[in-house]
């Protein structure tokens, strides 16, 4: 098995943006114009909110869903439920909220309450020309019916008609349901259920040389041909039904109690191509590209060959089948496999809100998570062979080191649908408590919040592998990590429309389970250099909220301590697979954001946002490189990272937007974003004290520029006492057809012997070119 570093988070975000129709609604938005403009336009230029790598969290009916903490792909599981919900608040910059303490992520608070929606039937159809994705949905909102019940039902379907194989395919069948019951003015019950059967292929980043050879801006190597048919080996799927129950009781006019439960049980999986002891099948492998050959005639021959036949820059499944069938007993060296994650999740939250006095409010929160995730691999396709040997092999250019995945069943021959590889589970128990106190007067508002939590992890291995026979089988000890939080806000109101707010926070966070273990698939040891991550920071905001003019200025400074990380990779100096660990890394994030929005005669809105951020690593963290299996230390010392960028998010962004109401029923808008100072994600381990002098600084990426346009047309009429509405929403993305890399990164492999930075060249994922989608909605109520 070859380890491939995937960039799934960024890809997920990219795909999510493509899925979600967006309608910027300025001046009605409760988040800043800066965030609003950038969250819809920023992905294509690699923008991350204040450089934070962690994705956003969403709190639905009082239950916080944090995909990174839970290890769940929430975008697939929850896709489409927002149509049944109302966003109550989006907070940024550690802004306290009565529903709980803030984190470094963007936090979105959502109410999934059928009572918020009037009686109606809505049918929606959307088509995107470039990807060929067709989406349709049907929503039935009952309004109030017998005994104060309200219900909503949504059915949704998505499929793709392949326009270009590089864009892959998607399929979705989903439903969402919510029902509310108002028992009295003081008691409220809400139940939500949703389920998506989702399949989506993934794009693979590649080197610029391969993109140029293909002559195709959409090129990526992660798909290919098999007997004339398209095959997409890299895909993810989700079948994870979720259910939430919320009960709210107003104890009296000043006290409110709310209890929420959530349950999720299902499977999410990731498909991929695997190979062992055989030629690398990736068409963009460095040895297959013209740049590998110093002989110019040979390089020219290869260039000509690829330019004449770009299909050879795709995966060749026919060749893989031939290899699998060429040996006597048809041992498969290439397979397609699925890593399944069987998820069982139970969450419970209790919230107590009290208006202590007219000026003081208290909120108490308790959140509990029990989660078990079991992972194993299922052999999907033997690609023409008869069996696959249950080996793990660390493949190098010239050699392969093989060990048994299960030493109790050596040389096990796996058939299709059989289980192979690492098989383990992890239990995650998380208990969090917090208290927030809010105080307000005519001029000053303040809040203070404390939180304490305990997080427990246990790994259980179901097979004993040959690489780590001592600590791969059975249950590990329970490891627990405390976390503490303190937050404070002071707001001074100069005038009703002009105020300043100062936020301060100090956190000591627990790792998530994926970070806690050194190599969770293979062994139960904790990661090296695992220390509580300490975060502290200040955020100063100045706000003016006028009737036709709104502006805000934010200054922020964050400091993070004790970050750590780990990576298994092939080290060309040692000619071996190694485990790299680093820790005690500290970073700073400072910046300034300014945004304004204004409107003229209520028909024309303008938005402008400017943000500058300096996100740097401020010390030289310690590190070790160990040989895989024996943990023999090969090198240790310091990584020379001080002063280097901590994130690839651009340093400077400027976003502009304008919307015009051309009539009562026709609205259009255009927005642009510019980005400067983009760096690619760089490899830490080649910048150790041993090699640093031979390494160049991380390369810059081209400045980003993206423009999107939308036109929104409404039409309505009454017929037989019912209101009929048509909405047409046309969206054109990347209007000026700019070719922006969404992200780029240095590979973990490096030519340590000759320090040739281009031997294992950086990889890129390019954003979509000019593309359009249309959505037509029909609603009756």
């Amino acid at each position: 098995m070859v380890l491939i570093v995937e960039r799934t988070n960024a890809q997920d975000a990219f795909l999510k943006e493509e899925e979600d129709g967006w309608v910027p609604t300025m001046l009605q938005a409760n988040a800043s114009a800066y965030f609003q403009l950038l969250q819809f336009n920023g992905y294509g230029i690699g923008w991350k909110y204040r450089g934070f790598e962690k994705s956003s969290t969403v709190t639905i009916n009082g239950i916080e869903w944090n995909g990174q903490k839970l290890g769940i792909d929430l975008s697939a599981a929850m896709l489409g439920i927002y149509a049944l919900s109302r966003t109550e608040k989006t907070t940024t910059g550690f802004e306290p909220h009565e529903n709980g303490l803030a984190t470094s992520a963007v936090m979105r608070y959502v109410n999934l309450h059928a009572i918020d929606f009037p009686k109606s039937i809505t049918v929606s159809n959307r088509f995107q020309a470039l990807t060929g994705v067709y989406q349709s949905s049907f929503i039935w909102s009952t309004g109030k019916f017998k005994n104060n019940w309200h219900a909503q039902l949504k059915w949704q379907h998505e499929e793709s008609f392949i326009q270009n194989p590089a864009l892959g395919k998607r399929a979705l069948n989903g439903m969402a349901f919510s029902i509310d019951k108002i028992f009295s003015k003081n008691q409220y019950l809400s139940i939500g259920f949703w389920f998506n059967d989702r399949y989506q292929t993934k794009q693979s980043p590649t080197v610029m040389e391969a993109i140029q050879l293909s002559g195709n801006k959409l090129y990526h190597p992660g798909w290919g041909w098999s007997n004339g048919n398209l095959v997409f080996p890299n895909a993810k799927s989700s079948k994870l039904p979720m259910m939430q129950v919320q009960y709210t009781k107003n104890l009296n006019e000043r006290k409110r109690f709310q209890i929420d439960w959530a349950i999720a049980m299902g499977v999410q999986s990731v498909d991929g191509l695997d190979w062992t002891s055989v030629k690398d099948p990736r068409p963009d492998y460095y040895k297959y590209l013209p740049s590998f050959y110093k002989d110019s005639v040979l390089a020219d021959q290869l260039t000509k060959y690829y330019k004449e036949q770009p299909a050879n820059l795709q995966l060749n499944f026919d060749a893989m089948r031939r290899v699998n069938q060429s040996n006597l007993d048809k041992r498969s060296y290439y397979i397609m496999s699925r890593e399944n994650a069987a998820i069982q999740l139970l969450q419970e939250a209790a919230h107590y809100y009290m208006d202590w006095t007219d000026r003081i409010q208290l909120a108490l929160h308790y959140n509990s998570i029990y989660e078990r995730i079991e992972k194993n691999n299922i052999l999907l396709d033997l690609l023409g062979g008869s069996y696959f040997l249950n080996y793990n092999s660390w493949v190098s250019d010239e050699d392969a080191r093989v060990f048994q995945f299960d030493i109790h069943h050596p040389d096990q021959k796996i058939k299709e649908a059989g289980s192979w590889g690492a098989h383990y589970s992890v239990k995650n128990i998380d208990q969090q408590m917090s208290a927030l106190l809010f105080w307000q007067s005519a001029k000053i508002e303040s809040s203070i919040g404390f939180g304490y939590g305990l997080t427990f992890f246990q790994r259980e291995g179901f097979n004993q592998n040959g690489l780590y026979p001592k600590n791969s089988l059975g249950k590990s000890a329970w490891y627990f990590f405390p976390s503490q939080k303190f937050q404070w806000q002071l707001m001074y109101k100069y005038a009703p429309r002009l105020y300043a707010a100062l936020n301060a926070f100090l956190h000591q966070d627990a790792p998530n389970w994926n970070e806690a273990f050194k190599n969770i698939a293979m062994r139960d040891d904790l990661s090296e250099y695992l220390l509580p991550i300490r975060q502290m920071g200040l955020n100063l905001g100045l706000y003016y909220l006028g009737i036709n003019y709104k502006t805000e200025l934010q200054l922020f400074g964050y400091q993070q301590k004790n970050q750590s990380g780990r990576l298994s990779f092939y080290h060309d100096f040692y000619n071996a697979f190694v485990q790299g660990n680093y820790g005690l890394m500290h970073s700073n994030k400072t910046g300034i954001e300014w945004s304004m929005e204004t409107q003229f005669a209520s028909a024309l809105n303008y938005q402008l946002a400017v943000g500058w951020g300096n996100y740097i690593i401020r010390n030289n963290p310690i590190y070790t490189i160990q040989s895989l299996g024996t943990d023999y230390p090969l090198e240790s010392g310091n990584l020379h990272l001080a002063g280097l960028p901590e994130t690839s998010s651009p340093e400077l962004v400027i976003a502009l937007g304008t919307q015009a109401s051309l009539s009562n029923t026709l609205r259009m808008g255009i927005s642009s974003v510019f980005a400067w100072g983009r760096k690619m994600e760089f490899d830490y381990f080649r910048r150790s004290f041993l090699w640093e002098k031979k390494i160049t600084a991380p390369a810059s990426m081209p400045n980003g520029f993206n423009t999107n346009l939308f036109i929104h047309k409404n039409s309505s009429f009454k017929f037989k006492g019912l209101q009929h509405r048509f909405k047409c929403f046309l969206q054109i993305q990347n209007l000026l057809n700019q070719q922006n890399p969404v992200f780029a990164f240095e590979q973990s492999r490096f030519d340590y012997k000759n320090s040739d930075a281009l031997k294992f060249a950086p990889k890129y994922l390019l954003g979509y070119p000019l593309n359009a989608s249309i959505q037509i909605i029909y609603q009756i109520n």
Partner: protein
């Protein structure tokens, strides 16, 4: 009833017309349908002058069967092929070649743009030659171009080696699968291994014909069987004939090619060597 304004349809028509312009791209693989003239390896080798290299510019092919590959790592980035007239080494810039080119596979090799050369008189087909350092450095056919140059035609599972006596070992047998009989390792070598596995250093071990004559068994230090002790008996050996300058050599695919289980022959014959 209120009419739906025309601008709504204009919006719809615009998008539909934009998408209608998109056509499914053609990704069909080009197949080179040109049929080259097939020449024998023997006549191909006649084009070569020892120590030189010749670029093949004509459209011509050879059709040959794989007789040895890198399955046991005794060969590296090379396979040995033969037809009914001769054998030759084919250099391929890839690893695990045995999976694509198993022994017994009959290949048709398009020779245009390839180069004939030799390594210490052992004739080989390569893709590039670099003499800029003063030495002749060769590169095999790049892996992506395998499909351009090599087509697997059929299987020929029953490969029969040519029985050869010492006096018949000559260059015309280069690259061919041969069988030599009544041979044994020199007594001084029987305590040695095929090669130096630990230090990855190749070795030549003297194989003595009972009827007189010596041929050297050449084994790579990377071969899977490099660390195995040499057999001490007498018998038959199947292998590919090769040369290193004037030295006559043979290499085996794996240890099953050696059947030295008989009693060693008397020493009288050695005197004739």
């Amino acid at each position: 009833m209120k009419k739906i304004p025309i601008s709504f349809f204009a919006c719809l028509v615009f998008v539909l017309s934009a998408t209608a312009c998109l056509k499914q791209a053609s990704f069909a693989t080009n197949v080179n349908s040109k049929v080259d003239s097939i020449v024998s390896i023997k006549s191909l080798k006649k084009l070569h002058y020892t120590g030189e290299f010749e670029l093949i510019q004509q459209n011509m092919s050879i059709e040959a069967v794989v007789v040895a590959n890198d399955a046991s790592n005794n060969l590296y980035k090379t396979i040995s092929i033969q037809d009914s007239t001769a054998g030759i080494m084919l250099l391929l810039d890839g690893v695990n070649l045995y999976q694509e080119f198993p022994i017994g596979a009959v290949l048709r090799i398009q020779l245009k743009d390839l180069i004939l050369t030799d390594y210490r008189r052992m004739v080989q087909i390569v893709a590039a030659v670099d003499t800029s350092t003063g030495l002749m450095q060769t590169t095999g056919i790049p892996s992506p171009l395998f499909e351009k140059h090599i087509v697997k035609v059929k299987d020929q599972p029953n490969l029969k080696p040519i029985p050869v006596s010492f006096k018949n070992l000559h260059d015309s047998l280069q690259g061919r699968l041969i069988k030599i009989s009544n041979v044994e390792f020199a007594s001084a070598d029987t305590n040695l291994t095929y090669a130096d596995k630990k230090n990855k250093i190749g070795a030549s071990r003297a194989l003595k014909f009972c009827t007189g004559g010596t041929v050297y068994l050449r084994t790579s230090g990377y071969a899977d069987f490099a660390g195995i002790k040499l057999p001490s008996g007498n018998g038959d050996l199947v292998g590919v004939y090769s040369v290193y300058n004037s030295e006559k050599q043979v290499f085996i695919r794996d240890t099953s090619d050696i059947l030295l289980k008989n009693k060693r022959c008397t020493g009288a014959a050695w005197l004739k060597n």
